[in-house]
Symmetry: C2
Subunit: 552 residues, 2 copies
């Protein structure tokens, strides 16, 4: 009864209760937990603050460095566990070793695909709030992350951090969305996602039809006119805050090959290591955001490390393990291991559409990238911070990728720079990092797929939101501990949770009413690039003409 | 071409080649591998022999003790991995710790259910060879393990071991199949499987209809006449070699309750510890075979350890973890840890028919007990032998439960007592234990389900044998590394394996022709028990009358 009453009060008054104070505005469910755990959390926060200030004191007054490595399309168990390596027939020894040196998250949630997960991390907010749902595969996107979103790079910059982004970006192709315009001092990034490469070379056209079988076909009668190869799109960009960007690597008129994709990946790895060396020497602490494009690779990739599995992406994963190993060795050699928190994780589940030749598959959890089944949104995730985070520890608590935003801000003493005029979904998980399992500040996640709320998790229960009008007793609720593959919805035994889930939804909607989602941000693609190729300029002109004719 | 030629020669002549020598007779595929690896294996065997003799010398001339713990219905990943514990919401800290002290097998195969797996271990042979397919659930079974099968207990006894069996047996209810008549000096065992208990008490009748929902129903109008409770069946037996057995625990005329099942489990655990203490003090080395009945439990079990999962069998698993922990502590306290090899494993995949309330489910691999999908036959398995087996190591090689027969015999210097007049499927895996991953002597398994050959594995490939006449290109072959859940059979890319699988089958059949399977062994149930209750005698009389009337 008492809980019910609190819930009711929260539903009606929470937005009022929390606004007007200078506190970060969280989503509704946070205030239910806050009302239950306020005293405990206060005590923990005090202890956390002590630990952080002690760390800073012992570190000559310098705040800890932050390295965040986000790996493309690797789900739960795909690295960090030798046993699960064996299940799949490949090895990730460097990442497995990293896992033993830190904390393994067994319930880290992302969003179901690349763009929204990355937005969630960058903004600390559900990506639906900034309308970063998933840009088009084929350029131009003419959309991207809005300049008014406050990224973790902006937050950390204000708190005195040097900030660098390297690798995948996937936050749009309009100037305001470029990383060096979103708070990073320097950035070297891919303009689009990897699939774009699938359309750019003559080789890819040969591979495309029929995909997964034609890899030995040298000639293809259906090949398009060579002039239709869109070699006018942009691959890679190097940028600095306040400056025009520069396209990387491609000469005007040049024919593109898969080789460019490999070179771009090599470039990112080289830059990551170079930047690491540079940043380590600076007086300021740093935030290095490294988002490799590998293992995802739509090329033929016949020069891969050998694995028992033999799949092409699996080979890239083995290669990437070596690269991350090199990065970690460099951290060691630079003598900054102890004052650097490193988080390494996947950005969503496996892209199993490429099952045949990639060697990828779902494993424990059902579902793939693009789905809100656990397989699509639960990822391998690990955090290391020697002497601060317990080596070899394991947390079964729920964490969501947005939490890293708030947590990194907390660790960097930068929470003052988190905006107060909007919902920030990420909650502070510093206590979980420093105290371990059982100290999470959330036991819930709302999971959107594009604009639709598809699932909500609370503790071990998960509802797949059904079509409107579905009878309450038929609300498909799964017990994830007893039914990790979400095969058998509870009915009789799920009844008691139905009401709670419906209240959660109601509270969430009430908060959305107060803080509505942003509309899509539109713009002109490829602006503010100093060395645009003539063909790229023509491509933009065609795009503008097309807009005049068909609108968009 | 060369390999093809060797295979052909093996197929036609191998039975002749290997008979006539005083070597253990293995199945056909072994001789293919032998021809490929003969020199390497010889060198390894020499090294293994040196290590074993060195061990014995350092152990005052005494051979190592052997403890084998076989846990009922726990599949791959169900203990030994904290990460996978988290997936399911329970903890097995003692077993996980045991795993870190020894070798984890990531590809240990059993048979798809209890009886055949246990026969496979006891005889080193595929259970179809001794016609131990799966006894009836409802007593009397009137069948069991034939006296002419040579069990691991007989082999080890001849090599000077004290041998004790405790717990589940499930090898029939005829006298020749009792463990103390199959080579064990002493035995304390359950006469039937756990399901039998489901029919024996008034409580169970109330729970049975409808199972999984009625657990709160106190009265049931459909309850059978009380006189129909088969309280004349035998629960537990204590026996000694050469003596009549004694029924354990039930007084004549007594009404049975679930409590008896719990008491029987407690009894086995107590006896296992007592026997361990006794055996450790003897001059001879020992073989202790402990096969707990838990976690499988068809009772209401409302007094279980609490877990997040909350399932009843999961609770029993947590309880069992404590029990195994006690056993391991006793091994430590007795000072015999270093001279004892301990293998702990599941006997087949989870019994997911009891999903709702048990908390069990399949996890990484698809399929359940009773199925030859990986989920039914691939189990959690670990071996510890300090200083001999590398702590924290992991083997992805294929091992089959029959291999333990030959391997334990090798470790005990007892291979001379393995019979030469029949196929022994178990191959010697001592080199794998002592050298680690990559040293398995098999890359194949033939997997029967009852009398039918359902699947064959070779390296990462697996065929589900289809109905006769299925076109060769449609032979459903799975790549277990890329498709661990056996969802997508290979066609185009599976073609090249089809021929090999068909040759394997042909070779296997040729060997079976030379060494035919045994027919079912029939007998009178419950013979040679000194204290049979009057009601049990009546039950046997009814059985004999029934035989006269309907035959069986």
């Amino acid at each position: 009864m008492k809980t019910k009453l609190i819930l009711l009060i929260m539903t009606c008054f929470a937005p009022i209760m929390v606004s007007g104070q200078n506190e970060i505005q969280h989503d509704a469910e946070h205030y239910v937990l806050l009302s239950q755990h306020q005293e405990k959390w206060k005590a923990e926060d005090k202890e956390v603050a002590n630990k952080l200030s002690k760390f800073q004191k012992n570190n000559k007054g310098k705040k800890p460095n932050i390295i965040y490595v986000l790996i493309d399309d690797v789900g739960f168990g795909e690295f960090g566990s030798p046993l699960l390596n064996n299940v799949r027939g490949y090895e990730t020894p460097n990442l497995n070793n990293f896992a033993t040196e830190g904390l393994t998250f067994s319930r880290m949630y992302t969003e179901p695909s690349c763009t929204p997960t990355r937005t969630a991390f960058l903004t600390g907010r559900l990506p639906v709030r900034s309308h970063m749902l998933e840009p088009k595969i084929v350029p131009p996107e003419a959309t991207g992350l809005n300049k008014d979103e406050v990224t973790i790079a902006e937050v950390l910059s204000q708190a005195g951090y040097n900030t660098v982004h390297v690798g995948k970006w996937h936050q749009g192709d309009i100037a305001q969305s470029y990383p060096h315009n979103q708070g990073f001092d320097e950035a070297s990034f891919a303009m689009h996602n990897q699939a774009t490469f699938n359309f750019m070379t003559n080789e890819s056209e040969q591979d495309r039809w029929p995909y997964n079988i034609s890899q030995t076909i040298d000639e293809n009668p259906y090949i398009l006119d060579e002039n239709f190869r869109p070699r006018d799109w942009i691959l890679g960009i190097d940028g600095k805050k306040g400056e025009q960007a520069k396209e990387w690597g491609v000469e005007p008129g040049e024919e593109l090959t898969y080789e460019y994709y490999y070179k771009l990946n090599d470039h990112h790895q080289d830059i990551a290591i170079e930047q690491l060396k540079r940043l380590a020497k600076e007086d300021k602490p740093f935030f290095l955001n490294y988002w490799p494009l590998y293992p995802v690779d739509f090329s033929r990739a016949d020069d891969l490390p050998r694995t028992k599995n033999g799949g092409s992406w699996v080979g890239r994963m083995a290669q990437l393990d070596g690269w991350i190993g090199d990065l970690l060795t460099e951290v060691e050699n630079l003598g900054i291991a102890d004052n650097t928190i490193i988080v390494i994780m996947g950005d969503n589940g496996p892209m199993v559409q490429a099952l045949g030749s990639s060697g990828y598959t779902d494993m424990i959890y059902r579902g793939y990238k693009g789905q809100t089944l656990e397989g699509g949104i639960r990822v391998a995730a690990f955090a290391r911070w020697p002497k601060m985070i317990e080596a070899g520890s394991l947390a079964g608590d729920i964490v969501h990728v947005t939490d890293l935003y708030t947590t990194f801000a907390q660790i960097a003493g930068a929470t003052d720079y988190i905006p107060r005029d909007r919902i920030v979904d990420g909650v502070d998980q510093t206590s979980l990092l420093l105290n371990g399992d059982g100290y999470s500040r959330r036991d819930y996640v709302h999971m959107y797929n594009g604009p639709h709320l598809e699932a909500t998790m609370k503790q071990q229960f998960k509802v797949h939101w059904p079509a409107a009008g579905t009878p309450a007793f038929a609300l498909p609720i799964y017990n994830l501990l007893r039914d990790p593959r979400e095969m058998t919805p509870l009915v009789v035994r799920g009844m008691w949770t139905v009401g709670y889930f419906e209240e959660m939804l109601e509270r969430h909607m009430a908060f959305k009413q107060k803080y509505p989602d942003r509309k899509e941000t539109r713009g002109l693609p490829y602006e503010d690039i100093s060395n645009l190729r003539p063909e790229t300029k023509e491509f933009i002109e065609r795009y503008l003409q097309r807009q005049e004719i068909i609108g968009e």
